[in-house]
């Protein structure tokens, strides 16, 4: 075989490897693109109550997360309908939340909670209510001597 033919063969083999790498590269880019799309579709924004109250009307029923504290004395629990209604506040604004998913875990008034859902007709229809564990010093440890500060 002539030297030129040998070199040509080598070039062809390299091209095959390059083609494979190119193919893998294209696939990788495609996968990354699809993943990025999927990611942005899965994002939901997270607001404090006052931020949400300001934007509520412009959200057009988009699913969002709102963080606030459950207002004491605001709970209405209707077991026959498994419907929970309560107010969520951050001391600047308050919204009314309605959930048909029954009693959320660790539900208690006065503790923080994150509600996920959408705004409809003046109330927040939550499809998920997640209570946050009370903070480290949230539940006051009971002093023996009640005159202590």
């Amino acid at each position: 075989m002539r030297v030129e033919d040998l070199h040509a063969n080598e070039r062809d083999r390299m091209n095959k490897k390059q083609k494979n790498m190119l193919g893998i590269g294209i696939m990788a880019v495609l996968i990354l693109y699809l993943s990025a799309q999927s990611f942005s579709n899965a994002l939901s924004f997270y607001y404090e109550v006052d931020e949400f109250a300001a934007k509520a009307d412009s959200l057009n029923g988009k699913i969002v997360n709102v963080n606030g504290t459950i207002v004491k004395g605001s709970t209405v629990w209707e077991p026959e309908k498994a419907r929970l209604t309560f107010n969520l506040t951050d001391r600047n604004s308050t919204i009314t939340v309605v959930s048909n998913q029954g009693m959320p875990g660790n539900y208690k008034e006065g503790i923080p909670a994150v509600v996920t859902g959408y705004y409809m007709n003046g109330t927040f229809a939550a499809n998920q209510v997640v209570t946050k564990c009370p903070s480290k010093y949230g539940g006051d440890l009971d002093h023996w001597d009640h005159n202590e500060t």
Binding site: N20, I31, L34, S35, S38, F39, N41, A42, L43, S44, F45, Y46, N65, N67, W77, E78, P79, E80, K81, A82, Q101, G102, M103, G105, N106, Y107, K108, V114, T116, V130, K132, C133, P134, S135, K136, Y137, G138, G139, L141, D142, H143, W144, D145, E148
Partner: protein, 666 residues
């Protein structure tokens, strides 16, 4: 003097001493220093055990003077949960982690014969970490901090943690987390000494850690299934992801080291994979224990986050600098001759796991970055994780199906024909048979095809191994199988793990694709249908159990008119102390289906209950708990011959290979 902190202070001192002794011993080549260092290491283990027993004691005696005990337990907390409250919070968890690490290194230190040069260089890495943990336990993360008053009662344990899962999930997970540091330290030592046999030494520890991580993740999943009331086994919650990430990279690591063992390749992969595994272990602890992410696991504001972050940064920087410094002696052999070969399949394995890790890490970390740098918080929904990871899982399934039979180096067309025609045919036939039987969903069909392929190729390879044994010495089928098994435990163990993963994938596919769910408003005596089952609410019950008031809706379940389940409960717990109400879902296995009951509300004459029928769910627990564990234990029981002696011939080895009892030398 406070017992716990005293023990930790002495442990800290010993840890510093052992570290100094190692460094001095290496530098000045004085072997006696290693002996005293090893004794110090055993001393550390004794002291951390004392500190841990002390913490258990504080909980058992309900000593609320200690802040940690007061926050995580109460007088009405049942004793079993009081004991498990040890790891309810960040401080106790760190103590558990340090305790387990100290026990592991004590085991290593006690085995004098194998304390070779590699281990002598690896131990300082562990000791630096342990010293750092002890420092944290005495300053910013103190389980033994005392209050200046004596509370009448403690706060009590989070009701969601008052479940049997509390015993198993954190303990197995930290068993795994603690185990990861050993392979990591061996890697550092291996790079420094230009000794590639670090992967052999790391293998069993990696398996041991993997056992812990696998169990930890399984228990976490089972716990979520039986405690959280959405009836699922995985929600891509940031905290679930936190423990999943190191498992992913460790799985990749364990596979990829086989290429380094057999062929001397993929060395950088292995270095990076174990580095990531350790970093992700610390990251996982950071996420779950420092209060960064709001989730079931948060513990309020914490000052420990910077400590974990700084540690991660230093480890990353130091490792990369070391790799750069020793770059020339890490050269891998070129092992990839073809895209269709067993070596390539290991590469694809790594790619898939890395892609999964990257996506889960991105989804978990993005909200933190967003909040930190852009000031607004976001949540990443499960759809992202599923859309990326389900295809990756399918790819992995088929890769599992190919790997037992595909040739090393380069698979020719005739080889592919010979080996894969029958398994592929079996897979296609299975799909065709399944279709009229009701399995028509795309993912279900893919799961069927993949599982049959995996089962078929694994069976073929096992038959070949048995036949080889038969040719050596034919003692009848049973003896041939047992001999073959004994001589090839690593392969059999590994295949068992594959089958376990297969069971988990099939279970997930069945449960998710064919799940039926509906919420019913029920009256006592009424019957409600879901799937093939009829659920009858028989009565409402109320009773007190330990520290909670239980309200139960009881069910009888019928299938085709026959009673298949009686006394099934949907429960609600009211915790008197915490004044909170929680739903306690219950799952019952009937035939191949799991019947899942989650009460949303219970009144005197009725209940609103979410019912789910999930086929194949039981397979996940059998596969993940029993088959997987058995497979790992079989692998741990093996010893691997060091095949890379020739490759290492031109690399500087400063160790006496013959002294290693755990691996045999060719």
């Amino acid at each position: 003097m406070e017992t716990g902190e005293t023990a930790l202070i002495i442990a800290l001192v010993l840890s510093v001493y052992a570290l100094a002794a190692h460094i001095l011993g290496i530098w000045k080549k004085k072997t006696e220093l290693f002996d005293s260092a090893r004794i110090a290491i055993i001393g550390i283990a004794v002291l951390t055990t004392i500190a841990s027993i002390w913490l258990f004691n504080l909980f058992i005696t309900r000593n609320f003077q200690y802040e940690y005990v007061a926050i995580y337990s109460s007088l009405d907390l049942p004793m079993a949960y009081t004991i498990s409250a040890f790891w309810a919070g960040a401080d106790g968890s760190l103590l558990l982690w340090a305790w387990l690490i100290s026990i592991y290194i004590a085991v290593i230190a006690a085995r004098g014969k194998s304390y070779d040069n590699l281990m002598r260089h690896a131990m300082p890495i562990v000791l630096i970490t342990l010293t750092y943990f002890f420092y944290m336990l005495l300053t910013v993360s103190r389980p033994f901090r005392q209050l200046d008053f004596m509370p009448v009662d403690g706060n009590g344990l989070n009701p969601l943690l008052q479940d049997p899962g509390m015993f198993f999930h954190p303990s197995t997970l930290f068993w795994g987390y603690a185990g990861v540091i050993i392979p990591f330290a061996l890697m550092i030592a291996g790079i420094y000494l230009s000794d590639d046999t670090w992967t052999y030494r790391a293998r069993r520890w990696a398996l041991w850690a993997w056992l812990g991580l696998s169990l930890g993740n399984m228990f976490g999943s089972y716990w979520a299934y039986t405690v959280l009331n959405w009836g699922g086994f995985w929600g891509w919650d940031p905290v679930e992801n936190a423990s999943f990430l190191p498992w992913l990279t460790l799985t990749a690591f364990y596979h990829s080291t086989m290429i380094q063992e057999r062929k001397g390749g993929m060395k950088f992969w292995n270095i990076l994979l174990i580095l990531f595994t350790w970093e992700l272990t610390v990251y996982g602890t950071l996420l779950t224990r420092s209060g960064i992410i709001a989730s079931v696991h948060t513990f309020g504001q914490s000052v420990t986050a910077p400590y974990y972050i700084n540690y991660m940064v230093v480890v990353l920087a130091a490792t990369l600098i070391l790799v750069a410094w020793k770059y020339n002696s890490i050269q891998s052999k070129k092992v990839f001759e073809s895209f269709v070969s067993r070596e390539a399949s290991f590469l694809y394995n790594n790619w898939i796991f890395i892609a999964s890790t990257a996506s889960v890490l991105w989804g978990t970390t993005y909200p933190l970055l967003s909040e930190a740098f852009r000031g607004y918080k976001v949540m990443v929904g499960p759809s992202f994780y599923n859309q990326v990871n389900v295809p990756l899982g399918i790819a992995l399934l088929f890769l599992m199906g190919i790997c037992p039979l595909i040739a090393w180096r380069k698979a020719s067309i005739s080889h592919l024909n010979r080996n894969f025609t029958k398994p592929l045919a079996a897979a296609v036939i299975a799909m065709v048979i399944a279709f009229p039987l009701g399995i028509q969903d795309f993912y279900a069909q893919v799961a069927v095809a993949g599982s049959v392929l995996v089962a078929a190729t694994h069976f073929v390879d096992i038959s070949r191994i048995v036949n080889k044994q038969k040719k050596i010495e034919d003692n009848g089928l049973l003896k041939n199988i047992t001999r073959a098994f004994w001589n090839n435990r690593r392969t059999f163990g590994g295949y068992m793990c594959h089958i376990a993963i297969l069971m988990i994938i099939v279970s997930a596919a069945g449960a998710v694709v064919y799940e039926k769910a509906e919420t019913f408003n029920m009256r006592i005596g009424g019957t409600y249908s879901l799937g093939d089952y009829d659920f009858k609410l028989t009565k409402i019950d109320q009773y007190t159990k330990n520290n909670k008031d239980v309200t139960a809706a009881l069910f009888d379940v019928y299938k085709d008119g026959e009673k298949v389940l009686t006394g099934a409960e949907a429960l609600m717990y009211h915790y008197v102390k915490q004044e909170s109400t929680n739903v306690k879902p219950m799952a019952y296995t009937v035939g191949v289906d799991d019947l899942y009951f989650s009460a949303q509300a219970i009144t005197a004459d009725g209940a609103t209950v979410k019912l789910k029928v999930m086929p194949m769910m039981f397979l996940m627990w059998i596969g993940g708990f029993y088959v997987l564990i058995l497979g790992i234990l079989i692998c741990v029981s093996t010893t691997i011959p060091i095949r890379q002696k020739k490759v290492l011939g031109n690399i500087n080895i400063n160790q006496d290979i013959k002294k290693m009892p755990t691996e045999n030398v060719l």
